[in-house]
Symmetry: C2
Subunit: 325 residues, 2 copies
DNA sequence: TAAGAGCATGGTATCGATTACATGAAATAT
DNA sequence: ATATTTCATGTAATCGATACCATGCTCTTA
């Protein structure tokens, strides 16, 4: 079925049928006829021909590090909500934490494959920044901030600073299981904030750091290293909830009581932090919301070609739960 | 940049440039020239023009009930792996558990928007089946079985039957927190299997069922109802791990010891079942793998138009953990 | 009443590729 | 030496829409 077959059946020109679909001038009379034919045949215009002609794909590319992660999938859920509502399609670029894949997708989307791109970034190399600048479609960076680029981000520094200040009130010997410095938001910012807060509150004498990958087991081992070296730690902050749960497992195994012996906190306020026993105090970032905001920002800058770049900070909230006093 | 500009720059016809990209006959000499021009300009052919002309999109539509769910996102991860490897794009249709959205996406993908469709189904109404039959692109149903349709599924019945048989050995009073019957796999099959196994082992005297939604809280309440009515339950099986964790919370709150007082089991072997305390015995379905298999099956039936429909059963494994004796 | 605005419609060029067809040269077979 | 393949290339039709241009009609409005 093509538009010209419909035109023939309806006894009008292809132009008129096209106008029918694009709210152009069509008399009520012809509208009736076309509507009938369209319904009878179940016709709908070929999106590919439309794309070729109009240069509009109504499709957004979303590049992510890993779909089966709670934070990422929640962001994607938020993005998706806005996109389907606005009748955009979402094509997924899951890089499985492979930086080169990220660049590949960026290249793939570069020349008008899609109307816009959202990147949920973690590690941003110089190459990435270059590619992003070169991108000739509207772009939003989600989860991280980059100057001169549309960004929707969580202020990790501010949030962790606030949490650390609270923890400082009840602690003497501090530790943190941190993530790689290469990860700006989850790694570097959170570590810096923790340190700065404690230092500025005069608690910097005893603060110990260990670095671990994002998974439970790595955190568990890191926790073990920490407590072997410093058995008197009374406050442990972890860069993510998963890490906090890993740490919790080790703490249980060495007979520590939470929060009596040790106050523990994580980041993300994810499902798992509510399931752990005790529940884990955590920083809540509304990931669905930031996904939505990112999508809205993107659609806006698709409509308004030369809108100024925005950097939108999404508010955090601290959920005090069972693991802190 | 278009193919004809490249052709002009290289001093050849558009046909030759096209052949260069599609391994047609091109002399080594011209290949060199074209390669140079392409590299200099960074040209790549417009996918939309290609789609229009070739009727191939190299894109797969994946319809899912909810992206931020562990089982779904793991399946999508598996699908994605195969697809990116084979240079296919994945467009996501997240229905947010809205049946009508599911039909909308099915319609949207119907006429060659995509080369194929994978549906991660839960509830399959007659309407769904109709739409699926009418679909004129290759199709795979994932997570559920449907006769005469490519399906990749987990044999919930068989797996639960096996687990129930094991539980039966150590139990006297049985209960299950089940999911809605409308959900074939997670609801109906698991419930039936549990019942059948117990009956056939002569343990059907005391078996109690409660139904709940998939979330933690609903399961918690269902559990509460169960134990109020039947305080002597010693074996509790839940339709999902999340439900099992909800139940576990209630059991803790009424002072039951797991697995001493009650043996508990769930389905999914998801992250949370390893984090709970005690860890929860569960049925492991390799969701990434089934995603991969589904994607492979789909790509195969794209290549081989009239391959016979396959129904592929994915093996399960029971992970016995801390919550059972 | 003439000029301009708004409505309705058709013809056709165009978007950027692929590919059927035509043509000729070189290599191989008979 | 002639007939066939195989290789290399160009011309132009085509995929299925959109949109510019032209045309004619019916109203306003000065």
């Amino acid at each position: 079925m093509t538009i010209s077959e419909i035109a023939k059946l309806a006894g009008v020109s292809t132009a008129t049928v096209s106008r029918y679909f694009n709210q152009g001038y069509v008399s009520e009379e012809k509208k009736q006829i076309i509507r009938r034919i369209v319904e009878e045949t179940g016709f709908s215009p070929s999106p590919h021909a439309q794309m070729l002609r109009t240069k509009q794909t109504r499709t957004i590319g979303v590049i992510i590090p890993k779909i089966n992660s709670e934070t990422v999938s929640r962001m994607v859920a938020g993005i998706n909500r806005v996109l389907t509502q606005e009748k955009y399609l979402l094509v997924l670029g899951d890089t499985e934490n492979d930086e080169r894949e990220e660049l590949k997708f960026l290249d793939l989307f570069r020349n008008k494959q899609v109307d816009g791109v959202i990147l949920i970034g973690t590690v941003l190399s110089a190459k990435h920044k270059q590619r992003i600048k070169n991108l000739d479609v509207p772009f939003v960076l989600l989860g991280q901030r980059m100057l001169g680029v549309n960004s929707v981000y969580h202020d990790n520094y501010e949030a962790v600073y606030a949490l650390a200040s609270k923890l400082a009130q009840n602690g003497k010997v501090f530790a943190m299981i941190a993530a790689t410095e290469a990860d700006q938001a989850a790694g570097s910012d959170r570590r810096r904030a923790y340190w700065d807060a404690l230092r500025e509150l005069g608690k910097s004498e005893k603060v110990f750091f260990e670095e671990a990958r994002f998974d439970l087991h790595a955190a568990r081992e890191a926790c073990s290293r920490l407590f072997e070296a410093h058995p008197d730690i009374d406050t442990l902050f972890c860069a993510t909830d998963n890490m906090a749960v890993g740490a919790l497992q080790h703490l249980h195994s060495i007979g520590k009581t939470i929060p009596h012996d040790i106050q523990l906190a994580g980041v993300g306020d994810t499902f798992i932090s509510d399931v752990a026993n005790p529940t884990i105090t955590s920083i809540a970032f509304p990931y669905e919301e930031s996904g939505q905001v990112a999508a809205e920002l993107l659609l806006q800058s698709i409509v308004d070609e030369n809108a100024s770049k925005k950097e939108i900070k999404i508010a955090y909230k601290i959920s005090y739960k069972g693991s802190t006093r």
